[in-house]
């Protein structure tokens, strides 16, 4: 490259860099500076002494954290709920997508899709209200109508741990089944129609077509989306685990995830060191998982790998 050309390219870069600048600055502040903030996990944070004045304490925060029962509970809950969401959520989404595709009629599909997407547009706060309408002890629908009809004594749902894994999974499905089915529907629409026609000519029933053509053709999409979710298995939906159980302390055994733990530590107990340790624990393992998941996706299908 000649000198003149190089200079030309440099001058050309400057205005483009300038256009990108606000975004760069924002990401640097919002996303990169906190990355350096992970050192807080190794400090005995003191509000008066401040961020830099507080004493270093090595791995003490982590030692304390992993001595507590909380560490096991939150890790277990985060992973098990995510696994349940991945398995049940994927099956439900594919089920809906296949049925929707078979409808064929645009109008009916559109109506069904609109309704199914509705819960996805609601905030977790509003969904917390919806669940509350069913579960609250005095005026809830379940206690007042369903259990009464079955002659079962009312249950105080917000302090009984047992049903919560079920409640949280149902709530999750309610909110997300519509959106996830859209992705699978798009995949099914991408399958060559000629294959179905050929199968039909050979006398294949609809069921056979679904199990022998549609599902096998969906395999790459399923594998990729599943691997991506496994990469995020250390992160939980804060709203689902905070708003839906109304932050009820009696339920923590089955509702506490890493994200709600960090929130409690930071905002309620004001134990900065401990919650910073939990957050770093999540970031580091989360990073390792995303990287491995991506490596696996790349092995399956280079095109769909993140990088």
């Amino acid at each position: 490259m000649t000198k003149k050309k190089k200079k030309q390219q440099l001058t050309k870069s400057a205005p483009l860099l300038l256009i990108a600048l606000p975004g760069i600055v924002y990401l640097f502040i919002n996303n990169y500076i906190p990355m350096f903030g992970v050192f807080l996990a190794f400090k005995d944070f003191n509000y008066i002494k401040g961020i830099f004045g507080s004493e270093w304490c090595g791995f003490d925060n982590f030692k304390f954290l992993f001595k507590t029962h909380d560490a096991i509970t939150m890790t277990r809950n985060t992973i098990l709920y995510n696994l349940a969401f991945i398995v049940i959520g994927t099956i439900a989404a594919i089920f809906v997508a296949v049925l929707m595709y078979e409808l064929g009629q645009r109008f009916r599909v559109k109506i069904f899709q609109s309704i199914m997407l509705l819960p996805n547009l609601l905030s977790w706060v509003v969904i917390g209200f919806v669940v509350y309408a069913f579960l609250n002890a005095d005026t809830g629908f379940i206690n007042n109508t369903v259990l009464k009809a079955l002659h079962i004594d009312p249950v105080s749902w917000y302090s009984t741990t047992k049903p919560w894994p079920f409640i949280l999974i149902v709530t999750y499905l309610w909110k997300y089944v519509g959106v996830s089915s859209i992705i699978y529907m798009a995949s099914i629409s991408g399958i060559d129609k000629g294959i179905f026609e050929a199968a039909q000519l050979d006398g294949a029933t609809k069921m056979q077509q679904i199990f022998k053509i549609t599902l096998p053709m969906l395999k790459p999409t399923i594998i990729i989306l599943t691997l991506m979710s496994i990469g995020r298995i250390f992160y939980s939906d804060f709203g689902l685990f905070y708003q839906v159980p109304q932050n009820s302390g009696r339920l923590f055994e089955v509702t506490q995830t890493i994200d709600t733990y960090v929130y409690h530590g930071l905002m309620e107990l004001k134990d900065i060191g401990m919650s910073a340790a939990a957050a770093l624990y999540q970031s580091v393992i989360g990073f390792a998982l995303v990287m491995s998941a991506n490596a696996l996706v790349r092995k399956v299908d280079r095109e769909n790998a993140l990088f």
Partner: protein, 299 residues
């Protein structure tokens, strides 16, 4: 044989319709319960709880909210302001960041792509970010606390717009503008932004929905109820229905203390939080679905 397969397809279609109708019915049911609860008479609520077929309807909770309109309108005002300002700033910065990344001859395009992409892989966690925003930037209890942290630029949106530029805007458009002597800024604002409208519509929708539904920033950075938007107001009400009584006109309360519609008001507030979304949604559904499909492929 052909006849048979057509019958088979027909039955299958019928079964699909039935199963999906049932499913859709159950998905709609919880929302319906909330709406019905909001117009149920308070005495019925006390005796038989939230039901689908209340024996007496009443609009008391809505009248009550009209009386409390100052607080509710204020919360609406905050939410609308935050949603509009946040979405406009976000879309502007995001598009500006995405465009240079789409230019094949831009020197730092890969470096920039990595810079944006890495934010998807690793984050410093909420603790460091909370301390930075609240101590260094002193953002607590300001309207900016609801706009700036977390949502302005997301890697997801940046890549969505960049991919749109790469696939849908031919490079010759830029080249001919350059030959005509247009500066980069002119090219961006006069040519690229109008061309990017479809992808801008999609990210505006996503971002707008995020701001409308956000309560997490409020939870972390607000202690002053004056700045509460709808979502944070709902949280406050859920935790304490007394909040309404306290902030209302005491003299007014004296006259209507007896039939204060507590339990139905909660649900009426939830309805008010949902309403704008339900009204706007049918008009934008197409873009929304397109965005979900686009996003799933990459990201």
């Amino acid at each position: 044989m052909k006849r048979q397969s057509r019958d088979d397809a027909k039955t299958f279609r019928l079964v699909s319709t039935i199963i999906l109708s049932v499913l859709v019915f159950f998905i709609l049911l919880p929302i319906l319960l909330v709406v019905i609860a909001s117009v149920t008479d308070e005495n019925v609520l006390i005796s038989s709880g939230y039901t689908f077929f209340p024996s007496k309807l009443s609009l008391d909770s809505y009248y009550y909210m009209v009386k409390q309109s100052a607080m509710i309108l204020r919360a609406y005002g905050v939410t609308i302001t935050v949603t509009c300002v946040g979405t406009i700033i976000s879309v502007l910065i995001t598009t500006m960041l995405a465009y240079p990344m789409s230019r094949p001859n831009f020197r730092y395009r890969n470096a920039l792509a990595f810079f944006v992409f890495f934010t998807m892989l690793f984050n410093g966690g909420i603790v460091a970010s909370y301390i930075m925003w609240s101590r260094i930037f002193q953002i607590k209890d300001t309207i900016w606390a609801l706009i700036v942290p977390n949502y302005l630029v997301t890697a997801f949106n940046v890549f969505l717009v960049r991919n749109y530029f790469v696939t849908s805007v031919p490079i010759s458009v830029i080249e001919s503008a350059q030959i005509d002597g247009a500066s980069e800024l002119t090219i961006f604002f006069k040519i690229m932004v109008p061309l990017a409208v479809p992808s801008v519509a999609t990210i505006s929708l996503f971002t707008g929905l995020i701001y409308w539904n956000d309560w997490i920033n409020g939870l972390y950075y607000l202690t002053d109820a004056k700045l509460f938007g709808i979502q944070n107001l709902l949280i406050r009400i859920m935790s304490n229905i007394q909040f309404l009584k306290m902030s209302s006109n005491l003299a007014l309360l004296g006259t209507m203390n007896i039939d204060l519609p507590g339990t139905s008001v909660r649900m009426a507030m939830a309805v008010i939080g949902i309403l704008p979304i339900v009204v706007i949604y049918p008009f934008v559904q197409k873009h929304f679905i397109k965005g979900v499909v686009l996003g799933a492929v990459k990201g």
